[in-house]
Symmetry: D2
Subunit: 348 residues, 4 copies
């Protein structure tokens, strides 16, 4: 922990800080110049955190030294994590594509979409049986019936199923039906749900919250990792800003920024990230180009009849063309790899 | 529902929209001028929502006509709601003050704070037994032991207890111990928790999410109301913006803006809303002046030893002075009331 | 300057930083613990800034020690600045009210508003002769003709005139006509204009930019102060966020936060800060309560005919009532002053 | 103009709106259903704008019908604009790369960077002679001396020069020296400067303001176009949000969103857009993939000695590799073009 004292801090202020550190078993080193005093010591433990020191009179700034993400951190990790789902490797330089409708609406809808998704060579299907909805009066998903349909469609098309768990109550059922369990953006800091996901036997896709910093996102991953589940994939899905041409602002630079801090794979969801069908394909291409390990996109056989998020669902024809473009860009990156200097490598 | 077609929409586009409306039993009225075509009809039902129509080719904008908050809306409400907790009226022109430490840390800490809170004339004590924490390694609250201490302190000082329920699993225990159950900002869209709060026998304090619009906040209240619990109080606690002098940006204009839409009382939490002790008293005054029905503030007998949020906790002496100032401002507003025109009244 | 090295920084990285510091004449002190290395030295001069050091390999964080605002800073200032305009003291515990229409539209409109503003006891009139407009096709103000009308209205009602200078080209004319020159939000970082304002013989009202941090705002003030004009008043007018119930988010906690850093007075403009007439009076009250030195509000005799910003202009009757409420709240604060502890004083 | 009345609006409210429209020569058509009343008519002229109507009692929402960007709009444009600078086509499916240091610092620095930029095949050099700086005490650029160096480097390496004009006072000198004049982000709503750029004989690169919506950005372009200069190129450079892993949030989805509204080319500046060297190459790739007409990047021969923005400058080696990657991705897009459906085309 590095502590900078305020210019107007007195000797008593300094003593108080040092006392608190010593009480916690920390041996501080004090440096003084004409203008400033700073204290350096090991990071505080559970018994004493940076926040508490900030609360002391005369303290201007407290900087943590080591990464607070013991398990998610790239520092000290044994290489980057690769999460395998239905034979698809997420991470490790591969490109994973997950596609499907926003929600399971009917057997007919689900199977129609699954067929053209599978035909395009994609092996992971996304679709929600439980839907988090802003309004209590909106379509909330088919629930358990939706999970049954997902099990059937998996059997029929050999697709791995990615579907969201909304709460602890229905987690068991989702876990049983899914090949990968999604934690949605609004639940990124639902700590009970994160802990349950950490005790889950399936890989977890953790969406970034709409107002979560990179640090908070990694802390959320840490909640899952700390319970023992190491198969966690991060997914950027747009953040809330005032920029109003799209439903969210897709924060693509977070992908290489996250990879500079964590060993976990990072995917991108350009469908929720924009909310506009005409922006999804360009942003999916950009996601691959920025170095994401994969994309999660919504596609629907008949978007105008979709019960949720129709405006952002790709048409079947656009979807097929997108897959080709993403693979082309991924090839360019693969060929470039190895030729790059260390810094730029973060984005690959 | 009011639908404006794009200038380049063709006759087929228009027909498709009209078909979809008619299929849903809506009789649309079409108006055409040289430049534009618009469609007016009753709002869509569950079977057809504005989003679906937006997804159609040629549609430029869809505007809902009636309020989507059937129960939270001021339109059609029988006056403004007043929620009574431990003899304190929240709403109806009174000023409610809720104060206490961020978390229950020990019997000693809790009773010390409770004593000076009670001495100042405040009748509602806040303190968390279950604490939502960004890091899995931070102090998570005393849990059930904390609830027991809250029950003891209530008995000792005749204080009403406001405390947070973090998840459905521990809700029963919190409900039993609390006089008012708080739903925290990060859980504003934890829909399972909102539904449980809606079936709760105690009043609910619903914090605004850090990136929730006013509309989303009211939808969250609607989730609670729709389950039957009508004793809901909203609480603004700062939103996440890029403005970095404080931990959050306290969005005080949302108080009169909310009161223009809903009959529910609105409180303000300037402690989380700023995260800096030196900003709490000024912002608490501003909250009363803007027309809030009350404030929720953190105070600690020894902030530098606080296990959470010490930097924003008021010292006992500041707290007592603040109470006097808030009452003074509240008197000014009360005297002014009645003399104001309709528009300005929203803020009172 | 306090520099924390990254955990993985090597001896060569450290040497490079030290070399750069020594080249700039800085004698650094190095502190090492098992986990960390930090360097402490005087702040860099013009020849070497924090940014340059951040660019070096192995550097994790650079913290400046002294305030970068030599002239705007409260540290080392001889008390708080009071700016007098037309006999009104802005700062020093007084309450300054500036009111008037958004723009000068006609002699009739200007004189009608000026009369009721003067009748309410307010001594400062705001109105723009040059209007910054998002669209090139919108009403751009009456220009020089507007300035002439302002001179006439001043003579007639003994009102001090606050009006905006849009560019260097028309600054002379504005300076001649005004008692206080306003720099608008969009021009907060128009550095040529700031320098010109710094050579101006009239006090300057510096609006905060819609996406300016407190630090950037003070730097903008520093541009003016550095040219020799010490009569600068800051004015918060709302910032751009995603919160969509109002045109801007009025960031009231910035008032006490600014007063903790600078000796300059701080006003608030709740009209631009909200853009909604029904929120203006509540937010003006909140501005006074939070400790602002005054408010700047828009009022119009006939808002629906206003050529700009009609939706936020107060009606004459609301305006008069607002003045009474603001004075009432100001009295409460005055009485409380002196009784407060040091920290809370920031807000007064 | 489409006007939706509030549910509680009375007959008098409606009459007032209709009167105001008729006074302005607009013939309104009124549609009524049981729940709602709406008015449709041609858009208001200069004499009556949407804002004024919003100010009337009983009005809930006003929607403009036609594009407010007469000259920037894609609607009615004769194809997409291509701007040629030094033989490089910006727009029309080509990929334009502009590179160079943030500021001109010395003859040696400028020529060294220019040499390796030219060697990589890039034909446009960026470098500022006049630098907008947050602090009045920071390096402000070499000014006229910098312009002279730019003229020399152009002659030596046959590079087209892109450099910023900071104010009207120095615009003539910049215009004479530059092949393309840049308007910086902080000046996006400096209307005097925009008008001057509109009377300039060189193409203009218009950076997006850090808190400008797409609409406001197009209005700024409209200011330039309306003065007669049709050679305008837009440039996204990151927006201000709370997401703190990078200096700005690069808003890449604005590229296809802008192209859906305007015929002007759109470039991206990933250097200012991220402020971190390790994010620049990934984000430059993403910019090309999202469909930008080019990128503007900062590179420096010796970033740690850079007088401004060193932390974001690419090293010479990274720069050369980036160029190869961008060309590879651009080829993938070119090949895909034509195969895409209309909607996805926006991004190409």
């Amino acid at each position: 922990m590095l502590i900078l004292m305020r210019a107007d801090a007195g000797a008593a202020d300094l003593e108080r800080v040092l006392d608190l550190l010593r009480e916690s078993g920390i041996k501080p080193q004090v440096t003084r110049t004409e203008d400033a005093t700073c204290i350096l010591g090991p990071d505080a433990s559970k018994a004493l955190n940076a926040e508490q020191i900030s609360a002391l009179a005369g303290v201007r700034k407290v900087v943590r030294i080591s990464s607070p993400f013991k398990l998610a951190s790239l520092d000290g990790a044994m290489g980057r994590t690769v999460v395998e789902v239905n034979g698809v490797r997420i991470g490790g330089g591969d490109l994973a594509i997950v596609a499907g409708p926003c929600g399971v609406e009917s057997r007919d809808q689900l199977f129609t979409v699954a067929r053209y998704v599978a035909d395009s060579g994609v092996k992971l299907l996304r679709a929600g049986a439980f839907k988090p909805r802003t309004s209590p009066y909106a379509f909330q998903g088919l629930g358990l019936e939706g999970l049954r349909l997902l099990e059937q469609v998996r059997a029929e098309y050999s697709l791995g199923i990615v579907t969201e768990a909304l709460d602890v109550e229905t987690f068991d059922a989702v876990e049983a039906a899914a090949d990968m369990v999604q934690i949605g953006a609004r639940n990124m800091q639902n700590f009970a749900l994160l802990r349950r996901a950490g005790r889950c036997g399936k890989p977890v896709l953790l969406k970034r919250g709409p107002s979560a910093t990179l640090e908070e996102w990694l802390y959320a991953a840490e909640y899952i990792l700390a319970e023992g589940n190491r198969r966690v994939v991060l997914c950027e899905r747009g953040i809330r800003t005032w920029s109003d041409h799209a439903r969210n602002t897709l924060d693509l630079s977070v992908v290489p920024a996250a990879k500079a801090l964590t060993h976990l794979p990072v995917m991108v969801d350009p469908s929720h990230g924009t909310g506009r069908r005409d922006l999804v394909v360009p942003c999916a291409r950009a996601a691959v180009a920025v170095g994401a390990d994969g994309v999660l996109v919504e596609t629907h056989c008949n978007p105008e009849k979709a019960l949720s998020d129709g405006p952002q669902a790709l048409l079947p024809s656009d979807f097929a063309q997108m897959v080709g473009q993403l693979e082309g860009i991924h090839r360019v990156l693969r060929e470039a790899k190895g030729a790059l200097s260390g810094l730029a490598l973060n984005g690959l």
